[in-house]
Point group: C2
Chain length 416, copies 2
């Protein structure tokens, strides 16, 4: 199955915000074998919306629309869709009730713009938006489906997952059950993993498929199965997942579809361990990645961002003479930062970074992009030096990823 996403909004075209909804839809439809054919981003403009819609319907059986539904957008998208699919606007009491509830819940007063959200095209089925005032509209024509959703990522993501995705799957895969198994693999490169799984993959039945989703330094594996008999499929998937675990042993560090910081978090939670970070060049970004995960307060104690050298000395206890002798960007300083923060915040585990994020501050010996990383679990600290090409933002992002990865490796392969 293929689909096109149309992203509507002046704010996207002028670069005020970046579209993340189209990627979200694609990631969540991919496991079902659905492929995004194109993303078209247009302004809040009737002619452009209609043109994009015509083009999208020519090329794919499903069109997902996001944005253009705010009460200040003069209802351009809604009127355009109403005109496109025929019929008129009608007042929908259920939508009005939802709009009133949402507005009241936010402690706001209802105005006529917001109330106009209760007018919906007669040609669509309405799905109530429990996160916002703009209703979701489901249109069908000649076996094709067009779904219009709000643009606010929180609303689009929540409602797509809860309502739109299940309906799309039911609509297009009526008599087929679909099942997944995910796992996260570290400590092996993709080509070596593929060799190890070569026979397993070749022996998979035709209705079950293994996908490699490589990330920087780790790999997510996904088994997808399609079968009319849901019970039989589930048993088969569970069996194959067990075989996969037997083949990969402790290379598998998590059984879910998680981000890196969530994988680390799950392990910490399971083993009842606590974590702190000591950050120089990453400037708080590791703590931020960890605390993006809901429930991270169960294992994350806190962080010392020691941007200034004197914080490394006075708070983390790195001796001044070691900084002078070894350089502030060095193996001993990273190691002592990790040990210092674990001691200071009294945690079982710690990660630390010290590096040159750039664009200035580099030297011939320690060029921009050099980052020393340390990870500590219990009494064991390991370190790693990374040379990361690219600009400041990329150095920070990659150093954050690699610090979490080093901790993950230490947590899962402690004896290696």
């Amino acid at each position: 199955m293929t689909f096109t996403t149309i992203v509507i909004g002046d704010e996207l075209l002028i670069g005020q915000v970046a579209d993340t909804n189209s990627g979200f839809f694609a990631r969540h439809l991919a496991p079902y074998g659905w492929q995004a054919r194109q993303v078209i981003t247009v302004a809040d403009n009737a002619r452009q919306i209609e043109q994009a819609l015509n083009q999208a319907l020519e090329q794919t059986p499903v069109v997902l629309i996001t944005g253009g539904l705010g009460p200040t957008k003069d209802d351009i998208t809604k009127n355009t869709l109403c005109h496109f699919f025929g019929g008129t606007l009608r007042h929908d009491p259920e939508t009005e009730a939802n709009v009133r509830a949402i507005v009241a819940g936010r402690g706001l007063k209802l105005n006529e713009y917001t109330l106009s959200q209760a007018m919906v095209p007669t040609s669509c089925r309405v799905i109530q938006n429990r996160c916002g005032t703009a209703p979701i509209m489901w249109f069908e024509r000649d076996g094709k489906v067009v779904v219009s959703m709000p643009g606010v990522p929180y609303e689009a993501e929540t409602m797509f997952t809860a309502e739109v995705l299940p309906r799309l799957i039911r609509h297009f895969h009526r008599d087929m059950a679909i099942a997944f198994r995910h796992c996260v693999v570290v400590g092996i490169i993709e080509s070596a993993l593929a060799m190890r799984l070569d026979e397993f993959e070749r022996n998979l039945p035709e209705h079950i498929h293994l996908a490699y989703l490589p990330q920087p330094g780790w790999i997510k594996l996904r088994l997808t199965g399609n079968h009319p008999d849901a019970t039989a499929l589930d048993a088969e998937m569970t069996h194959l997942n067990d075989v996969l675990h037997d083949l990969l042993g402790d290379l598998i560090v998590a059984d879910n579809d998680l981000t890196l910081s969530a994988v680390v978090g799950e392990i910490l939670r399971r083993r009842n361990l606590t974590l702190a970070t000591a950050e120089s060049c990453t400037g708080g970004n590791i703590a931020r990645e960890i605390t993006r995960i809901a429930g991270s307060s169960d294992y994350f104690i806190g962080s010392v961002v020691s941007y200034n050298r004197r914080v490394k000395e006075s708070v983390l206890g790195v001796p001044a003479e070691i900084i002078d002798r070894e350089n502030v960007v060095s193996e001993p300083v990273a190691r002592l930062m990790a040990e210092g923060v674990a001691k200071y915040l009294n945690t079982d585990c710690a990660v630390a970074t010290t590096g040159v994020a750039g664009p200035s501050g580099g030297t011939p010996d320690i060029p921009v992009g050099t980052v020393w990383i340390a990870a500590r679990v219990g009494n064991r600290t390991i370190t790693q030096c990374r040379h990361i090409p690219g600009h400041r933002e990329r150095v920070i992002a990659r150093a954050t990823n690699d610090a979490l990865l080093l901790l993950l490796n230490l947590l899962t392969h402690n004896d290696s």
Copy 2:
């Protein structure tokens, strides 16, 4: 002038990475009066690229292409462009020299895939890419311009700013000088600002335009002027900028085109002040925003992320009985966190946050989205309570913005 951006790459369509280049181009062309007409995202597929190109050239005189040029992409984009514009591929010695220099600079070995970057269409002018191996290709046909750039944001942003943007402006605004003045305004809402500048705006000459660029809680103003006489224009713009400053007084807190954390940073640097943050619900995100700015080590000392209650007590010195009595999410705790970190890290200024980012942890009295913020400059601390709707990521982002804004207000309107 209008333009279309074509974004090429399977990794974008599957949602592995989000496109930020099209927004970057739009933001940097907008000051010259250029408008993005559409963004089309397609796979690494010759037919789709050609179809997007035809469509783009029908609708706008300029087409910017980003992505699809990596050495592992089988040269699909390059071959498609070569076929589209006619001619053949030729070996370009200058590009080969650049490829060799880039590869050597990264300490890598040259392979034949990378070397194939030196083959370029005879129909284009080549612009050397000093950040990567893929050359930038400039095509012209019937007065229209198509520019193909790499997809890696670091390369695309650097080369667009340094080479492509100036050439586009020279090409399409041959005999016209363009000048800008920016300023950042806080402490007034947009409608009140517009009333205050009503007469100023009405009296502007036709070749000078004032733009409002509203941000959450602050406003950027941009004066743009076009005139054949660059010297006269510059004098006129300077005069109008002075008038604007007279009209707005100390509502203007910065004279450049900066982000919020950079505005704060400029003021701290100018006044020789140092800053620390104490973060609970923002989890390090404020420190991250501050340290994204190159040179922030001049004023940013560090941060204590006190995610766990005991860090608030032991490190920041918030008394346990106050947390027990007032709640951890409360005015006194935010205030004591800011005072504590300023004392502990010995800084002139501080910001602090404590709140409920969600999705769990809310109570009827303190629902999810409640954040107490404190800002401290010298001996003065001010606080603010915010109720932020939306999901966890949004609460963190908005609390970060509002904490920086509270500090900015205190720094600039200390007596109010």
